[in-house]
């Protein structure tokens, strides 16, 4: 861990000001950024210890929880402050009842201790678990060191993505909560320097790796996520998060699906599907959703939709199973959601 100066932010404007010209991703070369925000710290300190991230300055925004730590549910939907702890949102009865996919995605992530620490804003920005990225002794990693290559392409890639990858990076987006937000058409609020604030679609937050896997999000330099808004919709209650993994708990997904359905009897009015564990970024399966609209949700329809979701999948040596697994995960999640008692 490189030395850094440490400051506590007393206001979001001040926090953003401290990071002007820096940003979390822009200009990141070999992980060396002038400054980073510190919230729960569960990703940042982890990667700083590994020397993957080397900020010269930390701006601790944990103290802003009074302003960005609220959960509110009203007619328009669900509002989540960015500094809400994962555990708080996971255990919130309103979220469990009305937005179960959100609560489940959080409950099934990490461990109780980590959920007590990590914030929702930090959660969506967690970085890939690709071992070649996390271990600086591997020289080839385009995400960590642009232009250096990708050791995972012909390395151990059982955990790696089959959707949304590029020839420069096949790292998997590791989170769970993001898929729930994506499936429910969430937006996020962002604060920037000099009081500048904006709202963006959650679907626009993560950037596919393409030729620049080091650029992971659309946040501008100094911007900080302040909250999420999940619009009220007919499908939010009939929603669930299915996470498939080797062990029962405390593991990142091999494949996961956030699904939400608006049903007219056995017929789908609208479906929402987002995939995790299989893609480079939180992955919305729009073709699969469209294929289900107006269909009776049975095994055949779910299987056909799942096939569409993985139509563009590209496998490497060890992750081909994710194409079959991902489809079965979608089928299982859809059929389970269809039969939910709500």
């Amino acid at each position: 861990m490189r030395p850094f100066s440490y400051d506590r932010a007393t206001s979001p404007e001040r926090a953003a000001g401290m990071l002007v010209g820096t940003g979390s991703d822009a200009g990141s070369v070999q992980g060396r950024t002038p400054a980073e925000y510190l919230a729960g710290g569960t990703t940042l300190l982890d990667l700083m210890k590994l020397d993957v991230m080397q900020p010269a300055r930390l701006v601790d925004i944990g103290g802003l929880v009074g302003r960005y730590g609220d959960i509110a549910i009203d007619d328009r939907g669900l509002h989540l402050g960015a500094l809400v702890k994962m555990s708080t949102a996971a255990d919130h009865s309103g979220i469990r009842d009305h937005y179960p996919v959100i609560a489940q995605s959080l409950t099934l992530a990490a461990s109780a201790q980590l959920r007590n620490m990590a914030t929702l804003g930090g959660n969506v920005l967690q970085r890939t678990r690709c071992n070649y990225f996390r271990d600086t002794s591997w020289s080839a990693c385009n995400k960590r060191n642009p232009g250096s290559g990708c050791a995972a392409l012909d390395g151990v890639n059982r955990q790696h993505a089959v959707l949304g990858t590029s020839t420069d990076c096949i790292a998997t987006y590791p989170g769970d909560f993001a898929q729930a937000l994506l499936a429910l058409d969430a937006t996020l609020d962002v604060a920037g320097a000099a009081g500048g604030a904006r709202t963006m679609r959650f679907a626009d937050l993560h950037r596919p790796p393409g030729a620049t896997p080091n650029v992971e999000t659309a946040l501008k330099p100094g911007e900080v996520i302040t909250g999420f808004h999940v619009p009220a919709a007919p499908w939010t209650r009939r929603s669930l998060y299915l996470k498939v993994r080797d062990r029962q708990s405390y593991e990142f997904a091999l494949a996961s699906a956030a699904v939400a359905l608006d049903m007219d009897g056995e017929v789908v009015r609208q479906a929402r599907i987002a995939l995790g564990g299989v893609a480079a970024v939180p992955w919305r399966a729009r073709e699969a959703e469209a294929a289900l609209t107006g269909k009776r949700l049975d095994e055949a329809a779910a299987t056909a939709a799942a096939r569409l979701a993985f139509a563009g999948a590209v496998a490497r040596q060890h992750n081909g199973y994710k194409i079959a697994l991902g489809q079965k995960t979608v089928v299982r999640a859809l059929l389970q959601a269809a039969t939910l008692e709500i």
Partner: protein, 207 residues
């Protein structure tokens, strides 16, 4: 009991803590004071980030004034600078739970917590549960009764996590205990006994 090592150790630690505090006179203000630069470009120049930072930690009801490298985690502060070695380092990356402590009553991982970021929040470690020769906390006693450990290394973290599990209301049944205790690896694999211990202690804690 091999307790003579402990006495040696405590004598050494108190000396180290003293050194730590005297060194802290060179510390910097924590919150953007006048000596602190406002932008990243100027921040690097005049400030020596390796200089010790003055901080006061509230641990098990006592205040500890320390001068520490700003990079020091709460876990390393406890173990190497305060002399509370009950909290264990098993991975240093939030993957095992051996370092679990309570901060303001919530179970968290001290290995992924910067000491300087703890501020004035109250830290409780395994040493804060029962004083020497005093009766054990019901969770500690339940771990003894149910043989909920073998080597004992993950045990302080398990116990701190288990108390959190009960207080959070996540110990209503064995399935919940198993799930909400899954952040604490036990390589000796005392898991069924840990579940039994949490069940026993929950009844006594009124959880």
């Amino acid at each position: 009991m091999p307790d003579y090592d402990d006495r040696e150790a405590r004598a050494f630690v108190s000396r180290r803590r003293f050194i730590g505090v005297t060194a802290s006179t060179a510390a910097l203000p924590l919150v953007g004071g006048p000596a602190r630069a406002e932008t990243a470009e100027t921040a690097a120049a005049p400030v020596d980030p390796s200089a010790p930072v003055d901080m006061t930690l509230r641990i098990n009801g006592e205040r500890h004034r320390l001068g520490l490298d700003v990079r020091t985690t709460l876990l390393d502060a406890l173990r190497d600078h305060v002399g509370l070695t009950g909290s264990k380092k098993g991975c240093d990356h939030g993957q095992c739970g051996a370092c679990t402590v309570h901060v303001d009553g919530e179970r968290v991982l001290s290995c992924l917590t910067l000491a300087v970021a703890v501020g004035d929040r109250e830290v409780t470690t395994i040493e804060g549960l029962a004083r020497a020769d005093a009766p054990l906390h019901p969770m500690q006693q339940a771990f003894v009764d149910n043989d909920a450990f073998q080597c004992g290394y993950c045990t302080p973290g398990q116990i701190m996590s288990a108390i959190g599990c009960v207080k959070e209301g996540h110990a209503d049944n064995d399935d919940a205990i198993r799930e909400y205790m899954s952040g604490n690896l036990c390589r000796c694999a005392a898991y069924p006994n840990i579940v039994a211990a949490v069940r026993q202690a929950k009844a006594q804690m009124g959880g």
